[in-house]
């Protein structure tokens, strides 16, 4: 007897598959295709193979800004990795401690900025750090650190770090919540057993809790990676699309925007832009692939 087609499954999947294909998969495939074309004055496309990619990667007029954006993007990601995730872990660990007063309130306050629009965050921090009207200089003066104040968002050496830290401040709530949920899932009886055996809290954290939440930490890392290499909005709202000073805050997202849409007198080129977008996609794909191959496969999952 022939098995009947499970219509209900098709029916339930259809909306998601349709929306995903139309708004995500097809545009992605079309972008990959567009990267192989070039357009002339009249706007007609013609096939040029890999020449757009060759230009971006080897012509100094393009490659300098591409590699600069790539390096900045890695810095941006590293700061998130080294600052955001450890802070998220520490906060989650404290929140999961038994008997911590106001734990819920802290959780809410720390998570709150993630709900705000990036444009608002950029605007607020620009005001806070402004050398003209900002409060930061005054606050630093109160503790005698006035001489260490400088216009961080305006200096080549510090602008990118400052922006990354602003982004960390905004999004630290997400790793915190994910890790917090994982910590809550650690079975009570294992920890009690360890106490009975005489293990210190410190040892319990390192040898029991941390190994159990490692898969979550891995997930947080890869989410941060994907988010950071797609980042655009904060830099655009604070520094504009030419990401000053001297392109020191230029990341792949802003480079893509300038190339695809154009900026001021720069005339946008959809085909070059598609090539940049494809490179961004490849960077993210490689990162995620490497993560799955080297990290995710080797993570030990404990049966709880």
């Amino acid at each position: 007897m022939m098995k009947r087609l499970p219509w209900h499954i098709v029916l339930f999947l259809a909306p998601a598959v349709l929306i995903y294909s139309v708004f995500s998969a097809l545009p992605l495939i079309d972008t990959l295709r567009l990267g192989f074309y070039t357009s002339n004055d009249a706007g007609q496309h013609s096939f040029v193979g890999l020449s757009n990619y060759l230009t971006i990667l080897t012509d100094p007029a393009w490659s300098t800004s591409f590699w600069n954006a790539m390096a900045n993007n890695f810095k941006f990601f590293l700061i998130h990795l080294l600052v955001q995730n450890p802070i998220g872990l520490i906060l989650a660990t404290f929140l999961s401690l038994k008997g911590l007063k106001f734990a819920r309130q802290y959780r809410t306050f720390i998570f709150l900025p993630t709900l705000l629009s990036v444009v608002i965050i950029g605007f607020i921090w620009q005001l806070i750090l402004s050398p003209l009207w900002g409060v930061s200089e005054g606050l630093m003066a109160k503790v005698g650190l006035e001489e260490y104040f400088s216009p961080w968002l305006g200096e080549e050496g510090s602008a990118l770090i400052t922006l990354a830290l602003i982004s960390v401040w905004q999004f630290v709530g997400i790793p915190m919540m994910l890790i917090y949920a994982a910590l809550l899932a650690v079975p009570e009886d294992i920890i009690e057993a360890a106490y009975v055996e005489g293990a210190s809290s410190w040892r319990i954290f390192w040898e029991i809790k941390l190994p159990l939440i490692l898969p979550t930490l891995g997930l947080v890392t890869i989410l941060t990676y994907v988010g950071n290499f797609n980042a655009f909005d904060l830099i655009y709202s604070v520094k504009g699309a030419i990401a000053g000073p001297n392109y020191s805050t230029d990341i792949l997202g802003t480079l893509f925007y300038r190339t695809f849409f154009g900026y001021q007198s720069q005339i946008g080129s959809p085909t070059m832009g598609a090539a940049v977008a494809t490179l961004m996609f490849l960077v993210i794909l490689c990162g995620v692939g490497a993560y799955f191959y080297f990290v995710q496969r080797k993570l030990t999952r404990y049966e709880l």
Partner: protein, 415 residues
């Protein structure tokens, strides 16, 4: 089955209804979001008084999104009938792609001098595709109260200018309200504002285009050299100061001068500021002065316009005395480009317009032809000029970097 048919009829009916509603309504695409009320309450009613029965809709898009969304709408065939044109390459590009009609010999075009039309013509000057509407003039605004208190005369020469700035600084105030966080003003209101005095306006600009001069020549380096003297005059933390910060600073009376574009007149009037204007100081007394009198806004017709006849009627009106008068006096700081005689009412706007009588006009140095290439020279100039103002780059290096980029894009174009 029946319901499907019904739905189809409904859809068809609503599409038809939408069609009839828009038939006869001329839509204007523009980036001047700020002027929407003015168009709706002053300009369009004035036109309709003369041309009853023609419906006009002013439908602006935010300036930063205008170019890309307009291109998308033109390609998709949903753009409005009249297209507000940016000067030079952005519009030239639209014309080359067949998104703008030829306007040679159309009613209204005869009222504009050749110099006004340059921004919207093909490189050979044979075909025009947008009607010139308005220009903006650059110079300096100064705080009248502060100048009076400190006994400073309005500077005419560069030595007088720097002496005045030092006096303001000595009084514990910020001499120049300017920051480099947004970068664009470093080029548009500083470099191409004060520079024409050094490179002799059109003479220097045309020499660059013709390949007879280089950015590394002394007349261009001189402009950056002046800017490098501004670093200590801009106040602390200027590298993180935005355009809005500078506006506020000047409006609050905290700074002596403000390198300005005439479009800011309206803003400072609204803030109740008591200010005057002076043109960029010349090197020494008696020198010919030059001003940046930049052709900024034009208007073109969409070849796929649904109401082409009405659109051309509106365009003819844009060339009229009435429009020139309304636009110059209501949109303070934008000056009509037509030949009509107009009496300007705003005192500062009048002051700036009067500079045309004594100083020679030029447009922004890089606006025509030079901007082509990757990355566009405009963006490169934002970058180096900001760095010079921040004291992070020498004038010579700035010139060398721009010249190198220019030679490269020229070589690419020749290929």
């Amino acid at each position: 089955m029946h319901t499907v048919l019904k739905a189809r009829h409904l859809l068809l009916a609503s599409l038809l209804a939408a069609g009839t509603a828009s038939a006869g309504t001329v839509t204007i695409e523009s980036w001047r979001v700020d002027d929407k009320t003015l168009w709706e309450e002053v300009l369009i009613p004035a036109f309709q008084k003369k041309n009853p029965g023609i419906q006009i809709k002013f439908s602006p898009t935010a300036p930063t999104e205008y170019d890309s969304s307009l291109t998308a709408r033109l390609t998709g065939g949903t753009a409005g009938d009249l297209i507000t044109c940016r000067p030079f390459d952005v519009s030239l590009n639209l014309f080359k792609k067949g998104h703008l009609e030829k306007l040679d010999g159309k009613a209204g075009m005869e009222h504009f001098p050749a110099s006004a039309k340059v921004a919207w013509q093909t490189d050979d000057g044979k075909t025009a595709f947008c009607m010139p509407m308005a220009s903006v003039i650059h110079g300096f605004f100064y705080n009248k109260k502060m100048f009076k208190e400190l006994g400073i005369q309005v500077p005419k020469t560069q030595p007088e200018f720097y002496a005045a700035m030092e006096k303001i600084k000595a009084a514990g105030k910020t001499p120049i309200a300017l920051g480099t966080a947004d970068q664009w003003e470093s080029n548009q209101t500083v470099f191409t504002n004060i520079g024409p005095n050094d490179w002799k306006g059109e003479e220097g600009r045309k020499a660059l285009i013709a390949g007879k001069a280089k950015f590394t020549d002394p007349q261009f380096v001189a402009a950056w050299t002046q800017m490098s003297k501004w670093t200590p005059l801009m106040g602390k933390g200027a590298s993180a100061q935005t355009y809005a910060d500078s506006q506020n600073m000047f409006a609050m009376g905290k700074a002596g001068v403000y390198p300005a574009g005439s479009w800011d007149i309206g803003y400072f009037n609204k803030e109740g500021m008591d200010f005057g204007a002076f043109p960029p100081p010349v090197a020494k007394s008696g020198d010919q002065c030059y001003i940046s009198d930049h052709t900024d806004i034009g208007m073109g017709v969409n070849p796929k316009a649904k109401n082409k006849a009405e659109a051309y009627k509106f365009l003819a009106w844009l060339g009229s005395q009435e429009f020139a008068d309304l636009y110059t006096n209501k949109v303070t700081g934008f000056f009509s480009l037509s030949n009509h005689l107009i009496s300007v009412q705003d005192p500062v706007a009048k002051q700036m317009l009067d500079w045309r009588k004594t100083c020679k006009s030029t447009i922004r140095l890089n606006a025509q032809i030079l901007n082509r290439g990757e990355p566009a020279m405009e963006n490169a100039l934002w970058n180096v000029s900001s760095q010079v103002l921040n004291g992070k780059m020498t004038p010579k290096d700035a010139a060398a970097q721009i010249q190198a980029g220019f030679e490269k894009s020229r070589a690419n174009a020749a290929k």
